[in-house]
């Protein structure tokens, strides 16, 4: 049904693609390696990020596969204690700093924000390229740490383990994250200035796509929180190399200080990972339903609210750390406050579907997957914010399940949704819709089979970061490993059919989904300078056919 309709539509508009306009697309504007590595075109930089973070994802996923295989038997089937510790540290470090944080903002934010606001490029194109080089510099340090044997501190680098006792390449790994942090800060500044200064005439704040709103909120966090992390990492290096007493009490330091500083960054970082994902879903759902998003302003402002209140809840990672119980109580309360608006966005997406005209395509299936998994992640997060429950399940597999529901079930699924939605725009080709849907369903099922058992494991008392465990936990671990196989397949499929589409896919029209938004008004793939003439925006956002007969706010 929808599929046939789609293809008809794309055939109608396919003709102009073979005119000379195509030759000027950003993809064809120079083919040498040099023209890519020295580009200042935000779209090409997005592709550079796409390629590099896909590589990092593959490395970190290999580490995950090794961990899951190891956990098939209680004694540890594959790795030594040291091997396992290094595997989960690398998995965590790379997934967090080299995949999740840069994924949606640096690939899709970079590609789409100028297009969505009617700009020719980012405010600082050369800084944008520099951010990528800095990011790759951090990546090289990570790979070096890996090649020289790895790190055994966990991605959280808790002191004094990391500053004094661990014997891996801690300084290299810390430097890697330190460098990647600078890339984040520069990207954040670029986003903020671009969104403030380069909006086309008529593109008021009330007409900004929600994708841009969420990236604005994300950029605020990047700029405000990341410096705290980078300074903290320097302090750990100083203690490790020069014995400065900052975190190790034997040297006169305070072991809890590190945790406060670390989570002051790393809790908001969760929102760096999930706000852009919410932005993606806020585009995908109206486009699939052909309806304005329900409660535009609520979703826009709640992004800012989440970004700002998100700075006040870091202590919920420290309920059993030895911080005062009064502090814990306040953090518990604030965490419940901030979690509610994020969970509520879910109701807005659901309400958007009511009386929509819903295309059940791959991109939408990924968006649905996001909503379901994010709901589970968010509500179990509330459970962790409740003090007495957290005391029991903190640092167990319950927490592992919870954050994978948010970060993998949420952010990665939305990333795949974005990939399917904007792929035709980015590369000018349609992919195979059927395979896309199969992959979306496989990811959803595989994800739940992998991670739902971990809630039960955690509740039953299985601590995290264990390479071996009491035999009674085995059944659930085996189930989880089986699910990971399915999930891995679900992730590998798009790699195949998307790459295949680059050569063999049908040419995509400018607007294959009949979506609103300025990015759909330019050819696919877009020309180097995006817009021939600066567009003048006169329409409300999400101006879909079904939105007309009601009170648009």
């Amino acid at each position: 049904m929808s599929r046939a309709g789609l293809h008809d539509a794309s055939r109608e508009e396919a003709a102009p693609l073979h005119t000379p306009a195509e030759a000027q697309s950003y993809l064809n504007d120079g083919n040498s390696l040099r023209s890519w590595l020295l580009t200042t075109d935000h779209k090409r930089i997005a592709i550079l990020y796409l390629i590099s973070i896909t590589g990092f994802f593959a490395i970190a996923a290999t580490a995950a596969a090794m961990m899951r295989l190891n956990l098939l038997t209680p004694q540890g089937a594959l790795l030594t204690a040291e091997g396992y510790n290094r595997a989960f540290t690398m998995h965590g470090v790379i997934m967090v700093w080299f995949f999740l944080i840069p994924s949606i903002p640096n690939v899709f934010g970079n590609f789409l924000i100028p297009l969505m606001i009617g700009a020719r490029d980012m405010a600082f194109p050369r800084l944008n390229l520099a951010s990528w080089y800095i990011f790759m510099g951090g990546g090289l340090f990570t790979l070096a740490a890996l090649i020289f044997g790895g790190v055994d501190t966990g991605w959280t680098f808790y002191t004094p383990l990391s500053s004094t006792y661990a014997n891996g390449n801690v300084v290299l790994a810390l430097s890697a994250v330190f460098i990647a942090g600078w890339s984040s800060i520069l990207t954040g500044i670029n986003f903020i200035v671009t969104i403030h200064k380069l909006r086309a005439p008529g593109m008021t704040w009330g007409r900004l796509p929600l994708f841009v709103w969420t990236h604005y909120a994300t950029a605020l966090i990047l700029v405000l929180a990341t410096p705290v992390l980078t300074v903290t990492l320097l302090l750990v290096v100083a203690e490790r190399l020069f014995g400065l007493g900052i975190f190790n009490p034997a040297l006169g330091g305070d072991p809890l200080l590190f945790q406060h500083l670390f989570w002051f960054y790393s809790h908001p970082a969760v929102y760096i990972m999930v706000l852009p994902a919410m932005g993606v879903v806020s585009e995908l759902v109206p486009a699939a339903a052909h309806k304005k998003l329900f409660g535009y302003w609520f979703v826009a402002y709640s992004s800012l609210a989440i970004a700002l209140v998100g700075f006040l809840v870091w202590g919920h990672h420290m309920f059993v750390s030895g911080q005062s119980m009064y502090a814990s109580t306040v953090f518990s309360f604030l965490s419940l406050v901030v979690a509610v608006p994020s969970a509520i966005k879910v109701y807005n997406w659901t309400a958007t579907l009511y009386k929509g005209s819903i295309a059940l395509n791959a991109a939408f299936l990924f968006a649905m997957g996001f909503i379901g998994l994010f709901v589970m992640g968010g509500l179990t997060g509330l459970m962790l914010a409740l003090l007495a429950i957290d005391v029991h399940v903190h640092d167990t597999y319950f927490v592992v399940a919870h954050f994978h529901y948010i970060m993998v079930g949420g952010a990665v699924t939305a990333y795949l949704g974005a990939m399917h939605f904007w792929w035709p725009k980015m590369f000018g080709r349609m992919y195979n819709e059927v395979w896309g849907r199969i992959s979306a369903v496989l990811v959803f099922i595989g994800f739940n089979v992998t991670f739902f058992p971990q809630f039960l494991l955690g509740y039953m008392g299985m601590p995290r970061r264990y390479h071996e465990y009491p035999p009674e936990f085995q059944t659930l671990h085996v189930l989880s490993t089986g699910g990971a196989g399915l999930l891995g397949l679900g992730y590998a499929l798009p790699l195949i059919y998307l790459l295949y589409s680059l050569r063999h896919g049908e040419p995509a029209s400018a607007n294959p989904w009949k979506a609103t938004g300025l990015e759909w008004t330019v050819p696919s793939p877009p020309p180097t300078h995006n817009f021939e003439d600066t567009p003048i925006v006169v329409r409300e956002p999400y101006d879909y056919p079904l939105s007309h007969d009601s009170s648009i706010a």
Binding site: M1, G5, A81, D152, G154, Y158, L161, T164, Y165, N248, P249, A250, P255, A289, H290, F294, Y296, F298, G322, M325, T329, S332, F333, L336, A343, I344, Y347, L353, Y354, K355, G356, S357, I358, M368, G372, V375, L379, T380, L386, L387, A388, I389, V391, H392, H394, D395, Y459, M460, G461, P463, Y466, E468, P470, E472, F473, L476, L546, S550, S551, A553
Partner: protein
Amino acid sequence: MLNLFGLSLPQASAHAQHVDMLIGAFSLLILFLAGPVIVLIFAFAIRYRRGKDVNRDHAPNRNVWLEVSWTIIPFLLILGFFVVSAKMFFSIHEPPADAMPISVVAKQWMWKFQHPQGQSEINTLHVPIGQPVKLTMTSQDVIHSLYVPALRLKQDVLPGRYTELWFTATRPGTYHLFCSQFCGLDHATMGGSVVAMEPGAYGSWLSTQASGGSLATAGATLYRKLGCGACHAGDGTTRAPSLNGLYGSRVTLEGGRQIVADDQYLRDALLDPNAQVTAGYKPIMPTYRGLIGEEQVMQLAAYIRAMKTVPGEHP
């Protein structure tokens, strides 16, 4: 006692039962909040799929009352849970006065427990049921965390600081004890068990264990060996304050601040003496850092605790 896939999680205390009830109730709330979303997404996706001929007139895209109500109602429900769970959290941080003190030292990678009468054990902790037990814990190296799932309790164990955990086991049995804060190479094997016993059985178990004398006796020996009495003997009119009756009393420091002389204070006084100088005395006490380990600190503290005669206002 709970069973899932052949896994069992015993409830070894009243607190454990309460935590299970809280988790069960919150799981119901999750169903109540998430159920409609999941059902409606599927229902809408099918009913309103593109190409299907249904009534789509007056599709709403805004409704303030609806939005406010689905913001406020879940929040109020959750607030109820916050209050209950915060109360439970306070109760697990307030040990009863008659709790049996056990000292715990964690190190990469073992747990060392010491009973009040001096018996010590590694990685296994025997406790009597029905009797509140208070663990005073510290670490010799990195951060560890003592976790007993059957009690639904855990607490990080920090170097340079004491943390506490208390519980009353109510059901005899042998329960897992884990380290739950990643602490290096053998983190996964840094565990053991908690053995909860009938008081009589605990008593006879204790009597079969070798004891190097009670903690306080060991502390007294150390006190003599280290020559603490050279300054602290007497009524406190000389070079150093008297330790008699010190434990639990309020001490006035140089500068007027008052502090309760608890285990943490005694530890700091031994290892970092000049940070908290008692009002009226010179900062002349040497540090014992490096000379004595965490276990000896605990023995000395036990001895000073035993010198407790008249608690109250103290110079």
